[in-house]
Amino acid sequence: MTDTMTIASTESDAMTADQAGEIEALLLETIDRLSEDQASRDVREAADQGVFPTALWDAVDDVGLTRCLVPEQDGGSGLPLASAMRALKRTAHHALPLPIAESMIASRMLLAAGLPVPPGIISVAQRGSDGLLARVAWGEQATQLVVVEAHQGAACVSLYAGKARIEHKARNLAGEPRITLATDEMERVASAELPQATELLQRYGALARSAQMSGALERALQLALQYANERVQFGRPIGKFQAVQHMLAVQASHAAAASAAFEGALDGGDAHPAELPVAIAKARISEAAGQGADIAHQVHGAMGFTREHQLHHVTRRLYAWRDEYGNEVFWQRRVGQIIASAGADALWPTLASL
């Protein structure tokens, strides 16, 4: 690939909004190009069978996407959270089978704890009460793990390196590896206290999956529209039938609402995102994900129910991601608790401030 863009370094420490916007636009274009050039059908199918797409990862790494949240002085590009999340949304639009979200979540967790972000494939996990790390994304391929765990009663973020012991291998509905691991044969390279680390991990995870679902919903709509205009039955494209048009209108509404809810979670600047907007986003978008994917399949008929058509790359991800880092009911409950506990009189001032 000749026209790859590596995120440029800027001279000042803090990036201006204009600079961030420019870099973000370039990054989105780069993701489009890179996906078209390198995420071939063969690469995707191999990834579905559990083969890590190393060349594709290297390409994504080369353009600076995996370290885009790391400050410039530490070899990253210091992008604001919102820009990174929009880039993540675009990678999900293209259904890139890589742990890009995990790199971003790990970066934010390490930085929040004041720890450096190492190069390589990083995944992220919460240590369970059984001592294991359950369903770690790409847990087998990751060379480092960021683990949220308790040390002497304090919540900590720790970085582990070395070979994890595999307890259980599974994949999510999209075929992405979700591996249960033990860390007893790994080295704990660094660790630091971080108050509310568990909640923060859950929040960053929910934000990242919201970005990804929003991108996948956009793509599912594009595919459904394209198919409805091409597929001819009863002598005309099925998109000419009112029943199909109305389904697609509803699908478009889900995609638009998902994008709006996602943007709503990015409003807080570069601090940790606030809980309520993220909870709203994950609740709204997880609900939209299933309904949007359902309609995309209904429109595609039997063709979309095959692995021969590309639709499954996005719909299986939607069906998987809606349940990760808390499904819609989990987050609806959080929203409901936050809103109810403040009382009815606080509802409107709260909504008006979002």
């Binding site: 529209l225 409805a228 205009n229 998109g239 000419k240 009112q242 199909v244 048009q245 109305h246 697609l248 209108a249 509803v250 478009a252 509404s253 995609a255 638009a256 609402a257 994008s259 709006a260 809810a261 943007e263 709503g264 409003d267 907007p277 909870a279 709203i280 986003a281 609740a283 709204r284 609900e287 819609e328 009911v329 987050w331 609806q332 409950r333 959080r334 929203v335 409901g336 608790q337 809103i339 109810a340 506990s341 403040a342 009382g343 009815a344 509802l347 409107w348 909504l351 008006a352 979002l354």
Partner: protein, 382 residues
């Protein structure tokens, strides 16, 4: 394919300041016992309240000062409108005039119409109704049969309009009327007229609605004479004008906040420590509402920039009204109160009235099916 745009909008500081002013105004009105907030806000007409709004500069906010307006931005108006709805203010009397009729007169009316009518609207003393539907013309507006015949100095209108909200209390109607016979171009030959309801040849008859209220009317035109300068825009341009205003009519907070007062009352029923199911159901509605508000403010921002996001507005109205209708359904099941109709202002009454109002939300201002057709057109399917 049309690319749907819901770019985020940040409300200007002036709009945020206005929010505080409106809250203080409403608090003052409530303290004086001027209205009961547990009502259907923009369906409740209270001329005295409208006059107070006019005095405060809350009507015709974006119109030029020379016509009584206040030259504020669309986002400032948005904040005032959403605050009114959130606080359950009885804004119904001036609603249609402020939301759409005044805009049409400003853009397409004669100078006499502007000078005579707009300052009165801004003062909160002049109310409008929308004269579009007819017995044989609901969603299919091109089927209107009320017709105008050219006479010396104006037009004579004969026919009838139905389901005309508030016509019995309105000073004017904007009526869509056929001025040329129906031809191949079904949308040609229609014209909008400003109808003064006090003049001879115009009369109304109540049509009681689902909850027994008098909101709808039949409006009868019997050789009603209207002057040439009360024609809106050019003769034959009615369809273009009607469709040109849809983004204003369909994207506002009135398309998802009709049941906001019931939502608040339901929260009071549930209390501050909801069980898991209550929390989830409430949280789901809030997630939808917060998202709708973002989409709606985004459209206000686009209107401010002079764009005409009619398709986005149709989309907001479709999911907004779907949300409004869900609110009474969710709480009916969750709280388990039998809804009732009576004269008390308790929860059962609020639930009962809202339940019987709800079917209108996905009909008025363009049915769900018409909206989905528009969205499909925007998606390049028709």
């Amino acid at each position: 394919m049309h690319e749907f745009r819901f770019d985020p909008v940040r409300l200007p500081a002036s709009a945020q300041a206005l929010r505080g002013e409106v809250r203080a105004f409403i608090a003052e009105q409530l303290a004086q016992g001027r209205f009961d907030p547990r009502v259907n806000s923009w369906g409740s007409r209270d001329p005295a309240f409208s006059k107070a709004c006019g005095e405060r500069g809350y009507i015709g906010m974006c119109w030029p000062k020379e016509y009584g307006g206040h030259e504020r931005s669309a986002l400032e108006r948005y904040v005032v409108v959403e605050e009114m709805l959130a606080l359950g203010a009885p804004v119904g009397a001036h609603w249609v005039a402020d939301r759409q009729s005044g805009n049409q007169i400003l853009k397409h009316g004669s100078e006499r119409a502007r000078r005579q009518i707009l300052p009165q609207i801004c003062a909160g003393e002049c109310f409008f109704s929308i004269g579009m539907s007819e017995p044989d013309s609901g969603s299919d507006l091109a089927a209107v049969r009320t017709k105008a015949v050219k006479v010396e100095g104006g037009w004579k209108i004969s026919g009838s309009k139905v389901w005309t909200s508030g016509a019995h209390e309105a000073h004017y109607l904007i009526a869509l009327v056929r001025t040329a016979p129906l031809e191949d171009d079904r949308h040609a030959g229609m014209t909008q007229f400003i109808i003064d309801t006090a003049k001879p040849g115009f009369s109304t008859r109540p049509i009681y609605n689902l909850y027994g209220g008098h909101d709808f009317n039949e409006c009868i035109f019997d050789e009603y004479f209207v002057e040439d300068d009360m024609v809106l825009g050019g003769v034959g341009s009615g369809w273009r004008m009607v469709t040109g205003e849809l983004a204003f009519e369909r994207s506002g907070p009135d398309r998802f906040m009709s049941t906001f007062q019931l939502l608040l009352e339901s929260m009071r029923q549930i209390g501050t420590q909801p069980n898991e199911q209550e929390a989830a159901e409430l949280g789901r509605l809030i997630a939808h509402l917060a998202t709708l508000r973002r989409m709606s403010t985004s459209i206000a921002g686009q209107l401010e920039l002079g764009a005409n996001p009619a398709i986005e507005a149709a989309l907001v109205k479709d999911i907004g009204t779907t949300f409004e209708r869900e609110v009474p359904e969710v709480f009916r099941k969750l709280i388990g109160v039998e809804p009732s109709l009576g004269h008390s202002a308790d929860y059962a009454e609020n639930l009962g009235l809202t339940t019987l109002r709800a079917p209108s939300y996905t009909l008025r201002g363009g049915t769900r099916e018409i909206l989905r057709g528009m969205i499909a057109r925007g998606l390049g399917l028709r």
